[in-house]
């Protein structure tokens, strides 16, 4: 379905202004201008969509209502009637992976000579990582340095990031790239091995490394292949639903739930690594999301019940360029690399309104301003609104064939719906993309719960209040490796006690004390997208079994 007539008129204006726009510079905003724009238009400032938590270590802190509903909910497990004496598996390190930092720590665990079990909610490798198209940052060019990377990360995050975590991120980065290179990840390179790197929003040097626009998928499939070669065991379709703590409140395993056979498995482990990703599928403020089907905040829920503290959970990253047309792929990701390669963002009149490589929070706020107060958005036949991302510019700026070579996934995705992005622009609007905050960790990926290690999107602190593009793939590898190493070391000297669910019982009691009598249960595990009719028809009967 090519663009309908009502949108064609605006495309004509985009084409008309193209040659003029390409000659003109558009200035970056100052820090003060950025802040004003965010306060006026960023969705984090719609405070009525947040509420203070009623219980737990972060009692009183604001989180999105959708997350509060899951944190103020009961366990799927009845702590008074669940038999923990039947142990189904014992291991040194249990790794609830979801994003592929689990693979990083798993591989390293095997290198450390400990027994590792990986448990995944869906297939091994099903994660947002697969969809991370744009790239991975590392300061490895002569004109760059880890210190510059550090400053860019802090500025992007609002200068509130936890310094020791940022230091770990930027100094490990070049080692991570070398590690991936040695495993056989196909980075985009010059013939002499020099990495082809581009900018991303908020970077001061071109340090984004990529594998076409399948960067996350390429890294994931190589790491998974390597883990399989090393014989690391993985249980698929068996997500964790509750952690197990002993009498010293150290983590000694978890309860897993088999999504297909509906059995619960008790796994005892000397150390546990949590890598369960973010919360896109909660659809905060009703937004569509770029996230994977399984991004339902399970890890946050389990860890919070067990006493882990959270940070920056009152900020959500909206990716500026989610698909706004066609409707079938609404909210899906259009990689930031499109802007890195030079495509302008323009309104209904074909005019630019923001410097494209501002940080994501700022660009999102500017698009919302354009489509709301300024009334300069492009309306689709179903009433969606968006702005143009002028993709054909890339081939004009960098030579014919660049789009096809650098963005094959994007070309393919739109071609499936009859849109040729080498010739026509893409309509975009912000979409829920990333959980900026999470469980507070130290630079060895440990947290407040002994024996429990956390890595990736489920952790918080390293990105402050806004993550830069290319630092998520980096984060999960840096802290995935660190978590694996820490967990292996811990497992070698750990003396785990008797597993209990006392913390769940205690959390239920706190809920009751706070006056929350609810039949909500969490973690959610999977969202329900069945039609309202189907849901009504399901009510009232007893499910099979």
């Amino acid at each position: 379905m090519p663009y309908p007539e009502m949108m064609q008129e605006s495309i004509a204006k985009v084409e008309e202004t193209r040659s003029r726009r390409m000659r003109e510079d558009f200035l970056r905003l100052s820090l003060e201008e950025r802040q004003r724009l965010l306060e006026a238009y960023h969705l984090d400032y719609r405070r009525e969509t947040f509420r203070p938590l009623a219980v737990g270590p972060n009692k009183g802190d604001l989180v999105p209502n959708e997350l509060a509903d899951l944190l103020e909910a009961r366990s799927r497990i009845d702590p008074d009637n669940f038999d923990l004496s039947r142990v189904d598996y014992e291991t040194d390190v249990l790794n609830h992976r979801w994003r592929w930092c689990g693979d990083g720590s798993g591989s390293l665990g095997a290198e450390q000579g400990v027994d590792v079990l990986i448990a995944t909610k869906l297939r091994w490798g099903d994660a947002n990582t697969m969809m991370a198209q744009g790239g991975i940052q590392a300061a490895d060019k002569p004109n760059d340095s880890p210190a510059r990377h550090y400053l860019d990360v802090m500025g992007g995050g609002g200068f509130v990031n936890i310094p020791e975590l940022v230091k770990a991120l930027v100094t490990d980065a070049p080692f991570i790239i070398r590690w991936l290179e040695s495993l056989g990840v196909m980075f985009d390179k010059e013939p002499d091995g020099t990495m082809i790197t581009v900018h991303s929003g908020g970077t001061s040097r071109r340090r984004m490394h990529s594998c076409r626009d399948y960067t996350g998928m390429e890294i994931m499939r190589v790491l998974r292949d390597e883990a399989r070669n090393r014989g690391i065991q993985a249980w698929e379709f068996r997500p964790a639903v509750e952690l197990l703590l002993d009498e010293h409140r150290q983590c000694v395993g978890a309860i897993l739930y088999d999504l297909e056979t509906e059995e619960y498995f008790v796994v005892r482990a000397k150390a546990v690594v949590l890598a369960t990703g973010g919360m896109g599928r909660l659809h905060v403020q009703g937004f569509p999301t770029t996230n994977h089907y399984g991004a339902t905040a399970d890890g946050i829920v389990m860890a919070y019940r067990a006493g882990a503290r959270l940070i920056f959970m009152d900020t959500v990253q909206y990716h500026p360029t989610g698909v706004a047309y066609p409707e079938q792929i609404l909210g899906q990701l259009v990689t930031e690399k499109v802007r890195s390669l030079g495509a302008h963002l323009v309104n209904v009149d074909g005019e630019r309104f923001i410097y494209e490589l501002e940080t994501r929070d700022v660009v999102s706020a500017a698009i919302i301003r354009e489509c709301t107060d300024r009334g300069k958005g492009v309306v689709t036949p179903t009433g969606m609104v968006g702005v143009w991302l002028d993709t054909p510019m890339i081939d004009i700026l960098r030579g014919k064939g660049t789009i096809q070579r650098a963005l094959p996934a994007m070309v393919r995705q739109f071609a499936r719906f009859g849109i040729d992005i080498t010739k026509e622009p893409i309509l975009v609007y912000p979409t829920q993309h990333y959980q900026n905050g999470g469980i507070i960790i130290r630079d060895d990926a440990s947290c407040d719960i002994p024996g429990f290690f956390v890595a990736g999107e489920v952790s918080g602190g390293v990105h402050g209040r806004n993550r830069l593009m290319g630092n998520s793939l980096l984060d999960i590898l840096v802290f995935g490796r660190r978590a694996g190493l820490s967990a292996a070391q811990w497992a070698k000297q750990a003396s785990p006690g008797t597993p209990t669910l006392d913390h769940v019982r205690e959390y239920h009691r706190q809920l009751q004390e706070a006056g929350i009598n609810t039949d909500r249960v969490s973690p959610m595990l999977l969202p329900d997208y069945t039609s309202p009719i189907a849901r009504i028809r399901r009510l009232g009967g007893v499910p099979i079994g």
Binding site: R28, S30, R123, D126, M131, D140, P142, A147, Y150, L151, D152, M154, G155, F159, P163, K167, T171, P174, F175, E181, L183, G184, K189, D192, G193, T194, M195, I196, H199, S204, R212, Y214, E218, R221, V222, R228, N229, G231, E260, T290, H292, Y293, E327, Q328, I329, Q332, L333, S340, G342, L397, R398, G399, R405, R412, Q413, D528, T530, S531, I533, A534
Partner: protein, 242 residues
């Protein structure tokens, strides 16, 4: 009276595993299955065309051809007859990538069945990414690892090729090996990266990083606002021909 909670303007008929459903026009196959009441565990993943979880085969009304698509990226049509293939058995070889050479021998040792390829072209009809599988298998067989890696790069490992190949080749596993061989053994390591690792190990950036870590917010803001930004280099990095 029909149970109705929302206004559905136009519907189409689809047959999911042979069972008939009326669903709103314009949905993807994935959305149509969910609309029909399926709460999917298998056959769904990233929902964005990247993970290969939702490989689907279908026929259209009155058409003998078997078609394929990703459920999350394919729009339903009236009379569509479909099922998902969420898993297909395929054997992955176990190897030490460091010990292999980027040659035909490495491929033939681990996947000898590639020599059974009949050049029938069936694989070309079942790839939702529309990759040139037959050519990359041929390239791998004759030891052109670079070609096999390049042609197979966009593979999402959905496994549909493996399900249809009369020679019983697991194409996507062969491709995985070829890409790792290429990147590991045929691409030079980045020279600037080697240099940077030595600098970090020598502690070249320690003092600067320590100072930044100790700096207060105002100092950081000032340094950030004043930092120079490298201009974007708007030249093609490769020519269109290579």
């Amino acid at each position: 009276m029909a149970l109705q909670t929302e206004v559905v303007t136009e519907t189409v008929t689809v047959y999911i595993m042979g069972k008939r459903y009326e669903v709103p026009k314009g949905l993807t196959i994935l959305e149509a299955m969910e609309y029909a009441g399926y709460r999917l565990v298998r056959g769904v993943g990233c929902r964005g065309g990247f993970c290969g979880a939702c490989a689907t085969v279908y026929r259209k009304a009155g058409d003998f051809r078997l078609r394929v698509g990703l459920a999350c990226q394919t729009v339903i049509e009236d009379g569509m007859y479909l099922t998902q293939i969420p898993f297909y058995p395929a054997t992955k070889a176990i190897y030490d990538i460091n010990a292999l050479r980027p040659t035909a021998e490495a491929i033939l040792k681990h996947y000898p069945e590639v020599t059974r390829c009949l050049q029938c072209g069936t694989c070309l009809k079942v790839c939702p990414q529309e990759l040139d599988l037959m050519r990359y298998i041929a390239a791998a067989m004759r030891g052109d690892i670079a070609k096999a890696a390049d042609l197979s790069f966009d593979c999402i490992q959905c496994g549909l090729c493996t399900g249809r190949c009369p020679a019983e080749i697991s194409h996507y596993h062969v491709a995985m090996l070829a890409r790792r061989l290429y990147a590991k053994h045929l691409t030079p390591p980045a020279p600037h990266l080697t240099q940077r690792l030595e600098e970090i190990k020598a502690g070249k950036f320690d003092a600067e990083l320590e100072a930044l870590m100790k700096a207060d917010k105002e100092t950081l803001r000032k340094l950030y606002a004043e930092r120079d930004v490298e201009p974007e280099e708007l030249v093609p990095t490769k020519t269109d021909e290579d």
